[in-house]
Structures are given as C-alpha cells and as structure tokens.
C-alpha cells in the first residue's frame, strides 16, 4: 500500500500539539449560541433573589416576611429559621471554617445573605425583596485587620467557647477571637540571624489590596429536584462540578448517584467560581421545598460585594544581601484579611496557599514565612484570581523586595536578578521554603527579554528623560518595569494537596468510535480556556486521530470522570497529563490490534503519526482509523472488543512555569495618567500545545494584571460599605486602556509531565502585576520613590508625584 500524502501532510492533518488550531468553541460563542446558566429555562421554573444586609455588622432583631408573602407571585421566603431544621443554615467552607447560608442572628458583612425570596419571576422576586422588613441593631464595624486583632468586639461568637476561651481553628491555635490561624514555614531564627548580621538589609511594608475576579458572567445556579425519581439536577457556574456534587451529597444526605451536577458554558471564572455560595444551597433547598426548578443568578453588585474576593494581604518583608548583591536571607510576614468567614479556596494543608513560593526565582539560602489570618467585617473569600493559590501575592512580594533591595544596593535591578537566579544546573531545586522546582532556565529567558527590548538603551533613555524633566523640558517621566516570575501550578500531588479531603488528581476517559472519531471526557471544566480545542490536540498527537474528529466533554458529573476541576492552572498539568496517559493506553491496545491485522508480532510494529507501521517496512501499515473499526467489528483472538481507556492522574510534583516581562511606561506627572509604550512578555510554559491559545491566554492574563495594578479594587469605607460595587467604580479595562502586547517564549519542558507541558493561563497575571507596578515605581525611583501601594490609579500616581515634590 502506498500513501499519496507526505508524512508532513499527515502531521498537519491531525492538528495536534504545536498547531495554532482555531478554537472550536468560538463558533458558538461568537454567534450567541453559548449555553450559560441563565440560558437554562425549565417548565414551571421559579426565581430566587436575596435580601442582603445593608450593614457590615449588626444583630438581627426580627425579620418580617408578611408583606413579601402577600405579594402575588411570591411562593416562599426562606430565612435561617427555615434552613435550621435541615442543618443547612450554616455550611462548611473550603478552608475548614463554616459560613452562614442565611444570616443566623447577625450579619457580618455588607451584602450578606439574610433571606431568600422565591417567586414566579425575577421581577416579582426583586419587588418582594424590598418588602421583607429586617430590624437590625448596628454593631461596631471592623474593617482593619490590625484593629480587629486588638478589638474587644467579637465578630464570630460561634468560635468562642462559653467560658470565653478560644478553641483551635482548622489550622491550629488562635491568638484572639478575631484571629483565624498562624501558618509558619521555614526557619525563623536562622533567617533572623542571617539578616541581623548581613552587610545590606532592605525592609519594606506593602499592601496587596483587595480586588475581585469579576467574571463577565456572574455566579448562578438552577436546581431541579425530581421528586418522582428522587434525582437532583444542579446546573451552575462551577469551576469544580465534581467537588460540588460530593459536597452537596454530604450536606443534603442525598446519595451521590442521585445528584447530577452540570457546569454548562461558563463566562469566565478566574477563581470566583471555585467556592460554594449560599445561592447554590438556597436554590437547592427551594427546589426541594417547592418541587419545581428554582433559578438563582446574582447581579453585578451582588457578585462584587458578596462572592469571593482576592488578595487583601498586608506583607512585611526583610531581605538581606552581600555588598555584591548576593541575597542571603528573606523574612516575610503577612497579615491576611479573610473577611467574615474563612472561605479561602486553598488546598487544606496550605491556609495561605502557596505563598511559600515567595522566594521566587532566586537562590535564597534561608527564609521564613509567617501568615496570620484575621476576621473582619468584609465579604469572605480569598480566592486565587487568575493565579495558582496565593502565587500573585508571593511573586508581587519578592519582585518588589528585589526592587527595594536594588535601591538599597544602588544596583541595577536587572543585574540584581541575574546575580541571584537559580541556575539551570541547580534543577531540580529545593527552595528554602520547601518546594522542589522541577525545571528552569532563567538566565537564558532573562537575557532574551533584555535583548529584545534593548534594556541598556532604555536605561540610557530614562536617564536622559530625568535630566530633561529636571531641566523643565518635559512633564513626563519614564518607567521600566521588570519582573521575573516562577509560578507553581498543577495542584497537585494527592499526598499533600486536597480540598476538603478530596485529593487533587484529575482524569480523562476516552472512547474511540468505530469509524475513527472519538469522545474524551475530563474532570476539569473550561471557563473560556479552550479545553475543547487543546485537549483534542494532545489526543490527536497521542492517538493519531485528527483533532477535528475528537469531541471533548466536561462538566457533567453523570458522564465525566471524577476530577477536581479547573483553577490554579491545573487543567493542562493534571488533566492534560491524564489525557496523554489515557491516549497511551488506547495506543497500547491499538498496537496489538495492528500487529494482528498486519500478521506480525506486537513488538514489530511502531507508531508513526496516525498509524502503526511494520518496523523497517513503512509501506505496510494500518491507520488508527482502520484499527478503530477492527477493534469493534473484527474478532481478534485474546482481545476484548472496543477501544476505550481511562486515566486518573496523580501528579508526582507541581509544574513551575516561568517568564520574563518588561513594561515601558510614560507617566504624565500632572495628570497621573500612565501610558504603556511597550509590553514584552516572554513565557516558558514547557511544551506548547497551541501557540495561538497560549497567546490569547497571555493577552487576557496581562489585561487582568493591568487592571489589578492600575486601578481595580474592592474598597470599603470605615462603616464597611463597599465603595466599589459597580463597574462605574470597579475598574475593568476595555480596548481603550489595553496596550499592544509582544509575546515571546522559551521552551523548558517539565521533566515529570507526560508531554512536558506546565500550564500558562495564569502566568501572565502573576508576572504582569509586579511588572506594571514596578514600571510605575521605577518611573519615580530617580526622584526618591521607594515603594507605593497599588492600585496605581491616576489619583494615587498624582499623589506620588506630589509627595515627591514634582509639582513644583
């Protein structure tokens, strides 16, 4: 048999790994044919809406639902009293704490859920919300974690024993009624000793402000309890549908096989859709009570003020070095504001996530990290907004400390980084705070980045600009923002990573159809990442069937294999690995079938792109299409019919993508407006599956980084009012604010991942935030700036210029 196409054409035809295959999802997204939670409409469906607290801290004296119930169309108004007999007025959080589903005697943050109105339509529900009369007694509000730790006001009376003692929390002893945990990693004494005796020490305090993932689609759910067959179906905005099913089963007592959880299309998650929210629980209870489907979808204000926030870390650092710039030690303490309930989404053993990656990309011999979690009258959450668990905080911290140390040493910050990089030959590298970095080649990436932007030339230009400014020739200063980051993604090995006791493996199940197409189902769920495109590409390369002939399905717990979901850039490192491993099982069976069909021994055939060929006789082959048909319809001695495989992948380690970013910015000191002239992003995410999807991810992550660094925040006043509850005040960048991005790459495959891929969705955010911030700070460095806190909005930049005497 002879082929009429070349091997190259066969490779191209698969659209496998390395191909910029167009996203298969986009046909429906760009034509308005996506199917989101709010698109789900079931016969007789009712609509839920929350009565929310206008106070940040108050006791509830009474709730009167009479007027609301009298409104035509209102079916039920649920309060904590109704949920209590079911044991559902409180629910466990992902962080080992518990959280009120509906206010149980008091409210602890503005926007907290107080009552759930169920009505015939959304408008009636909204009207009824206004008719529920709640009598509040205001209590003293604590929005500052430092004050909270000193205050006599107890926020969580449920966490203080009757005799006034403070029982341990989920993460050990608590020092104060408003204290949640202390988490310590590393050697404090040894670190202090090094720092106390160091030649050069830089210290800095920085506040990583509270912000919010703010996905375009807000959170919501539709619950449908079928009382005839006892089955509960729950559609919702879930980044981890299988976890939701298990938790729902444990909470409700409904057996897991009778619960079907479906994540349909999701309009962005960025961490906001990892947690379990009162709305989900209330829609389920309401459906059980009423016997008809109940939908709950929050509005934008509710999303910003009540569902999971990100950051709110007060970080205090000390870094020591020799006069030549070799870092000798790092000390970091964080006061972490977790809001009213500890609902952080972190693996159980890591109450501050992977903040202990804060030694960054540098070879630091000794380090210490201490984190104190604190309750305040703010919304609960603490998710990782477009980053692996608390990694943005860690990278921001170290990249600022490096800049501050460079000022202390009077050294160029790019050079300081070079001096301290973990060297290529040191990998695998065990950091002072415990992580084993799998691979890296930092210096090569750094040199490539600095050369691409002509770093030396930029510094010369900046020096000239400083002269010009001082001579009154210009009112614009120039900043060069640098950042070099190492992410830690792909959580994670079950031995140390679990959420609520659920191990963080992931899965893939493949079924090959007789005519040579396939369906693969995964335990993850795309929220815009393009899984249906990229996972099909992994499989195409692994099993030799065209990506276009492979359907990827996720998010339906009735059909998809169990997995822990999509967040923390874990889909490719974990589910992507499972996909490759399952593909290899398919290939192993296909090899036996091919050998039988070709009448040779199993070892005498080898895989080649889309077929098995007889070794040394490539004209004798069977394509995967032929093999698929034979697998089902030909009796093969010793082999079961069919061609299916499943893999549950427990990763041996995390993956460690890295990158080098440079931002060049001009800032008008009189208006405080920054203008981004250039942004260069070099990413090394190991093996690249789809360069176009990677580029898209980088553009998106950088844009969210720009948002966070330059203005996006959840701000509270001293009464606990959310001051940024709408998109008028909460900054979401548009095409107008977004610069042109230049992307670049190096490839350092992960040694332990089946295809060497590391994950990339969050890297640009992790590296981008410090890069934008460093650009602003660098612009003012020649005028005496050392550190100013984000977000660098126009007003704060103007204030910086003003405080440095630049307004004459």
């Amino acid at each position: 048999m002879k082929d009429d196409i070349t091997r190259e054409e066969r490779v191209a035809g698969l659209k496998g790994m390395g191909c910029s295959r167009k996203r298969v999802e986009d046909a429906r997204f760009t034509q308005g044919k996506g199917n989101y939670v709010d698109d789900i409409k079931l016969p007789g469906m009712l609509h839920g809406d929350f009565v929310r607290s206008p106070y940040a801290h108050a006791r509830i004296k009474s709730i009167n639902i009479d007027a609301a119930m009298a409104l035509p169309g209102v079916v039920a108004v649920l309060t904590a009293k109704d949920l209590e007999p079911l044991g559902l007025h409180w629910m466990p959080t992902l962080a080992g704490d518990k959280q009120m589903v509906l206010a149980d005697g008091k409210v602890l943050f503005q926007g907290q859920e107080v009552a759930f109105v169920v009505a015939s339509d959304r408008y009636v529900a909204a009207d009824a919300v206004e008719l529920v009369e709640v009598d509040y007694e205001e209590l003293e509000v604590l929005v500052d974690p430092f004050k909270s730790l000193q205050s006599d006001v107890v926020l969580r009376e449920d966490l203080v024993a009757e005799d006034g003692s403070i029982p341990n929390g989920a993460h050990g002893p608590r020092k104060h009624p408003n204290h949640i945990f202390t988490w310590e990693v590393g050697e404090e004494e040894a670190t202090n000793q090094v720092i106390d005796n160091a030649e050069v020490v830089a210290t800095e305090e920085m506040y990583y402000h509270r912000t919010h993932p703010c996905p375009l689609e807000t959170c919501g759910s539709v619950a449908s309890m079928d009382k005839v067959n006892g089955k509960l179906t729950l559609w919702g905005t879930f980044q981890a549908p299988h976890v939701v099913r298990t938790v729902a089963s444990i909470l409700s007592g409904i057996e897991e096989h009778n619960i079907r959880v479906v994540s349909p299309d999701i309009g962005g998650g960025f961490g906001n859709k990892v947690g379990v929210y009162p709305g989900y629980v209330c829609s389920i209870v309401a459906s059980i009570v009423t016997g008809v489907p109940v939908k709950w979808v929050e509005d934008r204000m509710e999303n910003l003020m009540s569902t999971a926030f990100a950051r709110d870390y007060w970080m205090k650092g000390k870094i020591s070095a020799t006069k030549e710039g070799k870092i000798t030690g790092l000390h970091c303490h964080v006061t972490a504001d977790h809001g009213a309930f500890d609902a952080c989404a972190d693996p159980t053993k890591f109450p501050a996530g992977f903040m202990n990656i804060c030694t960054g990309s540098y070879d630091i011999p000794v380090a210490y990290l201490g984190v104190d979690g604190v309750y305040t009258n703010k919304a609960p959450g603490g998710v990782s907004y477009r980053c692996s668990f608390r990694v943005t905080e860690a990278v921001y911290f170290i990249e600022r400390m490096i800049e501050v140390l460079a000022i202390e040493l009077n050294m160029d910050p790019a050079k300081l980084r070079s001096i301290n990089f973990i060297k290529k030959e040191q990998f695998p590298y065990t950091a002072a705070l415990g992580w084993e970095y799998d691979s890296g080649d930092y210096q090569t990436a750094w040199d490539k980045a600095l050369a691409a932007v002509d770093y030396t030339g930029l510094r010369a230009e900046q020096a000239q600009r400083v002269e010009d400014f001082k001579a009154g020739k210009t009112r614009k200063v120039m900043g060069i923002g640098l950042s070099f980051f190492t992410e830690i993604v792909g959580a994670g090995p079950v031995k140390n990573c679990d959420i609520l006791g659920m191990g963080m493996f992931d899965s893939c199940e493949i079924r090959i159809h007789p005519t040579g197409s396939a369906v693969a189902r995964l335990g993850t769920i795309s929220q815009g990442q393009g899984h249906a495109t990229t996972f099909a590409q992994i499989l195409a390369t692994e099993i030799g069937l065209p990506a276009d002939s492979i359907t990827i399905e996720e998010g339906d717990t009735d059909t998809a294999p169990y997995g822990l979901g999509t967040y923390g850039s874990r889909s490719t490192p974990v589910a992507g690995a499972a996909t490759a491993m399952a593909g290899r099982k398919i290939r192993a069976k296909a090899q036996m079938i091919a050998a039988y069909l070709l009448e040779v021994h199993d070892d005498d055939v080898e895989f080649d792109v889309d077929r098995f060929v007889v070794k040394g006789a490539p004209e004798r082959f069977k394509t995967m299409k032929d093999i698929a048909y034979a697998a089902y319809h030909q009796a093969i001695p010793g082999l079961e019919p069919g061609l299916e495989a499943v893999s549950y992948y427990d990763p041996p380690n995390m993956t460690y993508p890295f990158g080098a970013y440079v931002c060049v910015m001009d800032i008008d000191v009189d208006t405080g407006v920054p203008e981004i002239r250039r942004f260069y992003a070099l990413d090394d995410c190991g093996t690249r599956i789809n360069p176009m999807v990677i580029e898209g991810q980088i553009h998106g992550g950088l844009t969210e980084a720009l948002a966070v660094a330059l203005g996006q925040e959840i701000a509270y006043d001293d009464m606990g009012n959310v001051k940024t509850g709408t998109l008028m005040d909460f900054f979401l960048p548009t095409a107008w604010e977004v610069p042109n991005y230049e992307t670049d790459f190096t490839v350092t495959p992960s040694p332990h991942h089946p295809i060497g891929a590391k994950g990339v969705g969050e890297s640009p955010h992790v590296g981008g935030v410090p890069c934008f911030s460093n650009a602003v700070q660098d612009a003012f460095r020649p005028f005496g700036n050392r550190h100013t806190n984000m977000p660098h909005d126009h007003w704060r930049i103007w204030q910086t210029a003003n405080s440095l005497g630049m307004h004459g």
């Binding site: 009565v51 106070y55 503005q110 009369e133 006043d717 606990g720 009012n721 709408t726």
Partner: protein, 150 residues
C-alpha cells in the same frame, strides 16, 4: 458627608422659626415627603420617597429637635431607613439672623450613609443632597413669600 449653606428668606425671624416647626409647611417643602407626623414637641416621624441615582426608595425615619437655642438657633438629629436601599444618620445646626424684614438662615449638616445608597450613589450623594437641600429651602422661602403676598 457635610453640607452647609446660607440663604435669605423673605420673612421675619419669628415667622421663619415658627414655620420651621410647622409640620404642614415642612411636609410641603421636603422633597418627596409623603407623611410627616409630629409625635411630640421635639419628635417628628417622616416617610420620604427618595431617589439618588439608580436607587429609589421609601425612607422612614424619625427626627429629634433640640430647641434649647430658640429663637435664633436650633438643631436636629435623625435617622432614616430605606430597607435594602440603605440607611442614614445625621444632624444639622440651623441658625437664624434677623436682617430687617428678612432672615438669614445658615445650616450646617453632617450625615453618614450606608447600604446600597452608599455603594451605588456614593458619587451622587453629595450633589443630590445639595440639590435636595436647595430645593427644600427654595420651597420654604417660596411658601413664606406666598404667605406674604396672600
């Protein structure tokens, strides 16, 4: 939030003072006031329909008057609750100075605002409050003016 202004009212001081204590005139002049009940000499109860930006809500509240500075000054404190729309507490000091047949009224008010009003209306509250206060005193001045003409 702080509000202060000075306005000249075309009526003698005693009349202005009396009018400021007259629930009927107040009800007529307070923008959006639907009910105003005098509970005692120093206590009033009010229902007001208020619109600040996108928030429109019925506020019910009570006001306590301090008349110890009569007849050329009085102060009031109050609190209002608009349910899900939000809540406010505040107070004002009003001083009156006779200027022939007219009276110069000066007010100095402070308010703390919470809930949806504070979130949605934060950038509108100051300007809306100013507008409402101006509208009140304009109506008030007009009411007394009309009395004179009548």
């Amino acid at each position: 939030m702080e509000l202060n202004d000075q306005i000249t009212i075309n009526a003698p001081m005693a009349r202005v003072y009396a009018a400021l204590n007259d629930p009927e005139i107040l009800r007529h002049c307070i923008p959006g006031c639907e009910e105003l009940t005098q509970l005692s000499d120093t206590e009033l109860q009010a229902k007001i329909l208020l619109k600040v930006g996108p928030v429109k809500a019925r506020f019910s509240g009570d006001v306590q008057l301090d008349k110890s500075g009569a007849p050329d000054a009085f102060s009031l404190t109050g609190q209002g609750n608009g349910g899900v729309a939000g809540h406010a507490t505040g107070g004002a000091d009003v001083t009156l100075i006779a200027d022939g047949e007219t009276t110069i009224l000066t007010y100095d008010a402070k308010a703390k605002i919470g809930g949806k009003l504070a979130q949605l209306g934060s950038r509108l509250i100051q300007s809306t409050s100013k507008k409402l206060a101006a509208k009140f005193f304009q109506s008030f001045a007009e009411a007394l003016d009309a009395e004179k003409v009548g």
